[in-house]
């Protein structure tokens, strides 16, 4: 039996084939439109979006002045109760190497790179951003569970990449507030 015989009824079978095909194509288009709509809805309604703004900074002057000078790195309790964390990545470590934050608090992470491309990934969470020299990365985050989290560099930054691991320590809110009373920038380096 040849294909011609099976589909001997030329134009009629062609019509059936075209109809089935159109139906499938319609389903495929609906699936895709639904996905895009879901992403738009989640982005707008739940504000789950990638970083919105592009901010720049000069990596060769980070240590001299501005937001990312050494004395300004670490966690700070803002007047409204939120926390801002500032950090930099360089071959092959983060500063501060251990970030301390309170649990159940809106946190803004602002970070950049002092040399090549790095990345920050906090394991067990969806905190994940690139650090590109020349640009500032900003991530909003909130931890619901106290404890220690590993924070590896997730982008190849040359031969020492595999050794570039930081840490995040999430502590009780009152404990954090007590430690923040003295002012300055908090971290858990050496603890």
């Amino acid at each position: 039996m040849s294909a011609e015989q099976t589909h001997g009824n030329g134009s009629a079978s062609a019509e059936v084939a075209a109809r089935v095909e159109r139906r499938w194509a319609t389903i495929a288009v609906i699936i895709i439109v639904m996905m895009a709509l879901l992403a738009a809805f989640a982005g707008i309604h739940r504000a789950t979006m990638p970083q919105a703004r592009v901010e720049t900074t000069d990596p060769s002057r980070l240590h001299l002045s501005g937001e990312f000078v050494e004395s300004n790195l670490g966690s700070v309790l803002e007047a409204n109760g939120n926390v801002t964390v500032r950090a930099i990545g360089q071959q092959y470590s983060f500063t501060p190497a251990c970030i301390v934050v309170p649990v159940d608090t809106p946190i803004t992470l602002r970070a950049t790179s002092a040399d090549v491309v790095h990345g920050i990934l906090i394991q067990g969470t969806n905190v994940n951003t690139m650090l590109v020299p020349g640009y500032i990365s900003e991530q909003l985050m909130r931890f619901t569970r106290a404890g220690d989290y590993l924070m590896p560099c997730q982008e190849f930054c040359s031969f020492g990449h595999e050794g570039m691991w930081g840490k995040v320590k999430v502590i009780d809110r009152t404990e954090f507030a007590n430690r923040a009373k003295g002012g300055g920038r908090l971290s858990c380096v050496g603890q």
């Binding site: 095909e21 895709i32 592009v54 491309v117 690139m130 640009y135 997730q154």
Partner: protein, 540 residues
């Protein structure tokens, strides 16, 4: 009508030889960073190996397969001697020269920047020049495909271009345009710095340029596989293509929408705003469309074969398929891997979900499953199918071929499934070493060990593949007849101009690239003070 067999065989052999080398490096990398390997005291060796593996598997191997398959298609589908054979050989030798030029600095540890370049890291200038030569060599192929089709059109005015050649030329145009992103990054940004003419570079702009290439290159790798799905598989298993026009629409969609979506690779980047990220995310969803259409058309084509063999029932026909036919086996494995890999891809492209797995081992698992799995297993099938026509000798060891395909499939699943899993646990990519003694990392040890075992299964399968082809060069002679492509159930006598030519779609591809990339690139290129000092690799 395969006349220039030597040319085609040379491309295939070079492709599979470098594939064998890169596969060996890959298996070694899996082993050395797993708990069963001993700690490599010099991590730099790992990154040399990783750069070589990526450069070969990303730029050299699939390009050569596309070229050899493309020449074979041009001669056999158009039934026309290849025009410009001398140019084709020039392209081949450019690729040989470029590969050697790139591999020497890699081997010396002067270019351990990975195949994705990662400026402001800068390696030896000859590494980049080698990559450029490889791309230029492949552009000769692009031009030849276009010229050959034009010559055929002149001789056959108004006739439908055979599907295989239509798709092949679409793939070559896609490659020509998608390579432009990396070419701009190399020529305007990286090479001047590597050559010492400049000392600073805009890393953010470079990442945007590279994303232009990085996603559509995957569709270029995919083209031979999809061409095989549509034009080889139905013929090899005794069926028909369900729909010729749907096939053309799928290839056209790949050409148009594979390009302007690359920024989903930069979702986590600070140099691109949220708006363009969303646009690229939505366009990425669109590129699932040709794949969904293809899955339908190919399943229907396969069903035709099964019913012609007496299969019946809603799903009963599946049993009637020629499962001992290597092409059937390869297609089934390819579809299973495409299914899992595609589902993973929908997660990666998602505006929101990407944050959970960005730059984790999930991504490595994903593209190995899609490229190494779904795509490369069809490269094997293409080679097996073409070999008797190229060598004039029979591939007798069908059982060995089936074992090889099974091993590749099993090896790829064993490698990539645990890889995805540790990615979800947050294991970062491209690490020469993991401290499995750390209680937080220890639970990942088992998965990483499994992946390494999968790597060795793949290596065994790869060696078998090369042995089968080599034995095929000395097998008894046979007249394989002319090389044919599958016919459609309703083979078209005429095809609408839009489905028979590429100009409109190429114009649309370029226009969409400009709308989706023009503004981000211009703003980055014009913004002051974003260039940062280069960091030279291996300079100390």
């Amino acid at each position: 009508m395969l006349v220039n067999r030597k040319l085609i065989l040379a491309h295939f052999w070079l492709a599979f030889a470098v594939f064998g080398l890169a596969l060996t490096l890959g298996a070694w990398q899996m082993f050395i960073r797993s708990p069963i390997g001993t700690w490599l005291s010099n991590p730099e060796l790992y990154y040399r190996s990783l750069t070589a593996h990526g450069t070969v598997m990303g730029y050299v191997f699939p390009t050569l397969v596309a070229m050899s398959f493309g020449y074979a298609i041009s001669e056999s589908a158009l039934e026309q001697r290849l025009v410009g054979v001398r140019w084709a050989w020039a392209g081949f030798w450019l690729i040989v020269a470029g590969s050697i030029m790139a591999v020497i600095p890699i081997a010396l540890g002067r270019a351990s920047v990975l195949y994705t370049f990662y400026p402001p890291l800068i390696g030896n200038v000859f590494y980049y020049l080698g990559v450029v030569l490889v791309v230029v060599g492949s552009w000769i192929w692009v031009a030849l495909m276009s010229v050959n089709l034009r010559v055929w059109r002149k001789a056959h005015p108004g006739a439908p271009v055979p599907l295989a050649m239509f798709a092949n030329v679409a793939g070559s145009y896609l490659w020509a345009w998608t390579a432009v992103g990396a070419a701009l990054e190399l020529l305007l940004q990286i090479i001047p710095v590597a050559a010492g003419l400049k000392a600073t570079i805009d890393a953010g702009l470079a990442r945007v340029f590279f994303s232009w290439t990085l996603h559509a290159i995957v569709y270029f790798w995919l083209m031979p596989t999809y061409i095989a799905y549509y034009t080889i598989v139905p013929r090899a298993i005794g069926g028909r293509v369900y729909s010729d026009s749907m096939a053309r629409i799928s290839f056209i969609l790949f050409l148009v929408v594979a390009m302007p979506i690359g920024m989903h690779h930069t979702f986590a980047d600070p140099q691109v705003g949220a708006g363009f990220k969303f646009i690229h995310s939505a366009f990425t969803a669109l590129v699932a469309l040709p794949t969904l259409l293809t899955v339908f058309t190919i399943c229907a084509s396969v069903e035709i074969a099964a019913r012609l063999r007496g299969g019946c029932g809603m799903f009963g026909w599946i049993r009637a398929l020629p499962w001992d036919n290597p092409m059937m086996l390869a297609l089934a494995f390819s579809f299973v891997m495409l299914g899992f890999g595609g589902a993973g891809g929908l997660i990666n492209m998602s505006y929101q979900l990407d944050a959970s797995i960005h730059n984790t081992q999930w991504i490595t698992g994903h593209f190995h499953l899609i490229f190494g799995g779904a795509i490369v297993i069809m490269y094997f099938a293409i080679a097996y199918d073409l070999w008797p026509h190229l060598t004039g000798r029979e591939l007798i060891d069908v059982r060995l071929i089936r074992t090889q395909l099974w091993l590749w499939f099993v090896g790829m699943i064993v490698t990539t499934f645990p890889w995805h899993w540790v990615g979800i646990l947050g294991m970062p990519r491209r690490m020469a070493y993991f401290d499995f003694g750390d209680p937080a990392i220890a639970p990942q040890a088992l998965s990483v060990t499994l992946s390494a075992i999968g790597g060795f299964i793949l290596l065994a399968s790869g060696i078998m593949f090369i042995v089968i082809l080599a034995r095929g060069m000395r097998a008894p002679q046979v007249d394989a007849g002319p090389y044919r492509f599958a016919l459609a159930v309703h083979q078209p006598a005429t095809v609408p101009v839009a489905l028979n030519t590429h100009a409109l779609w190429v114009a649309l591809m370029i226009a969409l690239t400009l709308t989706n990339y023009g503004y981000p690139i211009l703003t980055l290129a014009l913004s002051e003070g974003t260039s940062v000092p280069a960091v030279y690799v291996g300079a100390q």
